[in-house]
């Protein structure tokens, strides 16, 4: 028995020794593991721990202001108390949280939709505004209940605001939340311009710091100037994302202000004058190319777009027959109609096809081949020289002139004036239009029988019809080029870039693009005729008692071909009625302003378009505000 006990004891000792070996191996394993983590992979984990604890918090830059030529701010930022929700702290359905918040603060369906869309776009990272413009009462009510809503807070946020709402909407444009496409574009931009900045922090701060970008208009074309550079704070954070302290920070660089060439008061007046009518109006300072007014009617409220437009408003805008989102002066192409005649007359003088005294006997029509081209005036204008052809707007004179010049000579003369060409205005999406030539027809049509130019097609080009299709911008630009004696200034909306701190202005006005060789005496002949239009011609009634001498030319563009039938305004459906056009400038000796405008489907240019120009000139030249239009006030 004792021997067995001894054996047992021996066996126990043996097993304990094996156990100690086992323990040693296991602890050895731990030591190896710890050595692996703490010595060999230390750098990797040290970096991970660092990036764990430090968050780069982007500090958005203040966007630059938009200011008109007289210092009136038309695009600005305001700071508003905003209810924000940290997306990462939303537990469960965000709707439930919003429902609870709605019990203490009014939250509209649009707020809710915008918030949820922002949330979806972000994949639940970041802080998003739910309701802005909280009143003091609302804020107090929320603060009293804040403990119930972790991750919800009130903070002052910067918002973009267009204080005059619809005014100048097409040229200002609007900003909107950054889309995936915008992001991609900025990423590429960033990669190509990586400079001395700390790329790591910049990468992490730059893109998240930009939450809005210009989508159209000046906001878009001067995006990089207006945007500024977001800064960032390096913040030590807890695992829950709670900031502990700021380790370092790089302030944001605010965007620069863009000073526009626009006279916003002139713009406002013209928009008022249009009222509910559709159309486009462009006013240019001939000497500089400054665009003084750039009207597209109807327009829209850019403020609706900043936080994402709601579906109802969007549907209304997009489905409206009036196309309020359509930038007419930039994209709308129209036949210039009779407003083209002064340019044709100048071409005749410059190309020696007519002298001012050359006269025709006008029977009221012109027959070319087997087609008769009519003049508006039954029985004709009698003996017509160049001046009379402009003053009375005689079509026959220009049918003959067009025939004598031919399509290509007209094309070659009009092209440098900018007709059917990209003017290079600082807005995106400019449309070229059509300045016909035999070349153009070859490339524009596919079938060989259509590619041929027919001589008959030349005739109506003389009165600004036929294939001629220009933008109102081109028409105003062409007039400005003539008035500037052939010195072509690129039309532009931005005049200068202003540093928000130093107020230092940096002119962006382009220098002359090129010069057209035009004889000043020929230009004077045209100007004299245009002045006579307003004195005794088609628009004389509109310019009675003007305090200045202004030149002008009316035009009435057919929307569809009458096929020799007589046009009856009243019986024609609205959208098929004639467009009223007008070009004007003043004062005659040294023009400060050149205007081209169209009132869509309204009828005669003299009747519907010329009065708008007269009132615009009254204001711009003499500072006279029409009595029927309420005085325009600056928004504080």
């Amino acid at each position: 028995m004792p021997s067995l006990k001894k054996l047992d004891l021996y066996s126990y000792h043996e097993r304990v020794r094996i156990a100690i070996l086992f323990v040693s191996i296991c602890f050895g394993l731990l030591v190896v593991r710890l050595f692996w983590l703490q010595v060999i992979s230390h750098n990797k984990y040290a970096t991970l721990a660092e990036s764990n604890r430090i968050a780069i918090v982007p500090v958005p830059a203040n966007r630059g202001l938009l200011i008109d030529r007289n210092g009136i701010v038309i695009g600005r930022n305001y700071s508003a108390l905003t209810l924000e929700i940290d997306a990462s702290q939303i537990k469960g359905n965000p709707d439930l949280l919003i429902d609870q918040l709605a019990e203490i603060i009014h939250i509209g369906p649009r707020d809710r939709r915008n918030f949820k869309r922002a949330l979806e776009d972000s994949r639940n990272m970041g802080t998003f505004p739910l309701r802005s413009m909280l009143t003091e009462t609302e804020m107090a009510r929320f603060l009293a209940n804040r403990y119930r809503f972790p991750g919800v807070d009130v903070s002052a946020r910067n918002f973009r605001e267009y204080p005059y709402n619809e005014l100048a909407s097409h040229l200002i444009g609007y900003i909107g939340r950054v889309s995936a496409k915008d992001k991609e574009q900025m990423q590429n931009e960033l990669e190509s311009t990586r400079g001395s900045e700390d790329p790591y922090a910049l990468q992490r701060a730059f893109l998240p710091g930009i939450q809005y970008v210009g989508k159209i208009g000046i906001e878009q074309s001067y995006e990089k100037v207006l945007r500024g550079v977001p800064g960032y704070d390096e913040v030590e954070i807890t695992a829950g994302g709670k900031p502990v302290r700021t380790l370092s920070s790089k302030p944001s660089v605010p965007g620069k202000n863009v000073i526009l060439s626009i006279d916003i008061k002139l713009q406002a007046l013209v928009e008022e004058l249009y009222g509910k009518r559709r159309g486009a109006f462009v006013a240019i300072e001939p000497e500089t190319g400054d665009i003084l007014a750039f009207v597209s009617k109807p327009n829209f409220n850019p403020n609706d777009f900043v936080e994402g437009i709601d579906a109802t408003t969007w549907k209304e805008l997009i489905e409206s027959k009036e196309k309020p989102l359509y930038n007419r002066p930039l994209k709308g192409i129209y036949p210039p109609a009779s407003t083209y005649k002064p340019f044709m007359a100048l071409a005749a003088l410059e190309r020696n096809k007519r002298s001012p005294e050359d006269a025709i006997a006008d029977p009221g029509f012109f027959t070319f081949g087997n087609h008769t081209f009519r003049d508006d005036k039954i029985g004709g204008h009698g003996t017509v020289n160049m001046e009379k052809s402009i003053v009375e707007s005689c079509d026959t004179y220009y049918y003959l002139l067009a025939r004598d010049m031919g399509v290509n000579m007209m094309h070659d003369f009009m092209k440098p004036l900018g007709f059917g060409q990209i003017t290079g205005i600082d807005l995106d999406g400019e449309v070229r239009g059509v300045l016909p030539s035999t070349e153009w027809k070859k490339s524009a049509f596919k079938k060989p029988e259509q590619q041929k130019w027919f001589e008959g097609e030349t005739i109506s080009l003389g009165i600004g019809q036929g294939y001629n299709a220009f933008t109102i911008l081109q028409l105003a630009h062409g007039l400005a080029n003539v008035l500037n004696y052939g010195v072509v200034m690129k039309p532009h909306l931005a005049k200068a870039i202003e540093d928000p701190f130093t107020r230092q202005k940096e002119l962006t006005t382009p220098k002359e693009s090129y010069r057209i060789d035009l004889k000043p005496e020929n230009i004077e002949i045209i100007k004299k005729a245009m002045v006579e239009v307003n004195r005794s011609g088609t628009s004389a009634s509109s310019f009675r008692n003007a305090g200045f001498i202004a030149g002008g030319k009316t035009g009435t563009a057919q929307v569809f071909s009458l096929n020799s039938k007589i046009y009856n305004h009243a019986t024609t459906p609205e959208f098929l009625r004639d467009h009223a056009l007008y070009v004007a400038y003043a004062p005659n000796d040294k023009p400060k302003i050149a205007i081209a405008l169209i009132v869509e489907n309204s009828g005669f240019g003299a009747q519907h378009a010329a009065p708008i120009a007269r009132k615009a000139l009254d204001y711009y030249i003499d500072g006279k505000w029409p009595k029927e239009i309420p005085e325009w006030k600056r928004v504080p």
């Binding site: 047992d8 323990v23 593991r33 604890r53």
Partner: protein, 383 residues
């Protein structure tokens, strides 16, 4: 007079600590010191005050002292009762236990207790008692009985469900059975099969961890724990977060550590349960590889000392009990550090003495007291 008073005090102390193993005592003091220092750092930002940790350490020490005064013979006599009561409580839990966080682990007997904790000591006590009873007449049948005595509480705990505690109780019982002399020809195949199973698990982890795969007998959260271990990055913000952040804390500590109370991972709340189950991550981040070596050496010394004491024990009961308790200490330390460093799945096992928590400290104090008692009564019985 004064001298004699001093002498009197001295003799009282000497009496109180007679047979107190100085090796074990100093190792314990060393670990308690580390525990105190780490808690001053890890306890920050938790609702637990340093005084609570001190109190717990003191209670553990008092329990250790009391238990060390109990002759092992008494434990031997009480073993079957402790085990019986433990089983009864486990059955009671299964019938009308309290449910917290989806598990039925607690019972109210005046105070709310977790009977599975008792089994960590009760099972080795019972098995050691059984083998003592069968000393000299042991047969293969006895291992079967021992296996059943072990299986009953393990299964009861596992179905609470509390896989972590069940595994710890299972380990404690297996230590007794193996130390008692379970033939190697039975041990080797089991270990081999287990090893192969783990290897297969690692190889096929991507397939079996697919979300729609259910494992037989294993609950969803347990499957998740294993899968998270196999690939913590598969769910970096969810289940894998604890493991990843703990590993980052340990790794970023480097050779010398970031310095006491300088751990960024710990103090910026990246470490979950930083004063309890994951306290090692705090220690490793702040004291580095060097500190870890010291800690592991202390644990090794503790276990080695316990096993040495058990080798000198007079009876089979005390030997088995002493050996099993030492190895329970080992299991706690190894599983906890293994879990924090990502070697083992996350199971709720505290790091002996360092983790905050009353129950575990009581259990550990009890175990250490038994070791002391065994050491103390060694010569008395032998002579």
């Amino acid at each position: 007079m004064e001298k004699s008073a001093l002498a009197k005090v001295k003799s009282v102390i000497a009496y109180a600590f007679r047979g107190f193993d100085p090796h074990l005592g100093f190792i314990f003091l060393g670990l308690a010191g580390i525990s105190f220092i780490v808690f001053l750092s890890a306890g920050q930002g938790t609702p637990v005050a340093i005084i609570d940790q001190l109190r717990n350490l003191l209670i553990a020490f008092v329990i250790m002292w009391i238990v060390s005064q109990i002759p092992p013979k008494w434990l031997e006599m009480a073993a079957i009762w402790i085990y019986g009561i433990g089983i009864a409580l486990l059955i009671a839990v299964a019938i009308f236990g309290l449910i917290k966080k989806g598990a039925r682990r607690w019972i109210n007997v005046g105070i709310v207790i977790q009977p599975s904790e008792i089994m960590k000591i009760a099972v080795p006590l019972m098995l050691a008692w059984y083998f003592q009873k069968r000393e000299g007449i042991r047969s293969a049948f006895d291992y079967l009985v021992a296996g059943l005595l072990l299986a009953l509480p393990v299964l009861l705990i596992a179905r609470q469900p509390d896989l972590g505690t069940a595994l710890l109780v299972l380990a404690a019982g297996l230590y007794v059975i193996i130390l008692a002399g379970l033939p190697w020809r039975w041990i080797v195949p089991i270990v081999a099969i287990g090893g192969v199973a783990i290897l297969l698990l690692i190889i096929f982890s991507s397939g079996i961890c697919a979300p729609d795969v259910t494992w037989p007998l294993i609950r969803e959260y347990q499957k998740n724990r294993v899968c998270t271990l196999l690939d913590p990055t598969s769910d970096p913000l969810g289940r894998g977060f604890h493991t990843i952040q703990a590993i980052i804390a340990v790794g970023s500590g480097g050779f010398f550590g970031k310095g006491w109370r300088e751990g960024t991972q710990s103090h910026l709340e990246f470490i979950p349960e930083k004063h309890t189950d994951f306290v090692f991550a705090v220690f490793a981040e702040e004291f580095g590889f060097l500190g870890n070596l010291v800690l592991i050496l202390l644990f090794f010394a503790l276990i080695k000392r316990g096993l040495t004491i058990s080798m000198g024990a007079p009876t089979l009961f005390t030997r088995l009990l002493g050996g099993a308790i030492s190895l329970i200490f080992f299991t706690y330390a190894f599983v906890n550090i293994g879990m924090v460093t990502g070697l083992l799945p996350v199971v709720g096992v505290p790091l002996p003495l360092l983790s905050y928590g009353g129950t575990a400290l009581v259990t550990l104090g009890f175990g250490a007291g038994i070791l002391m008692s065994i050491h103390r009564h060694r010569r008395l019985v032998q002579s």
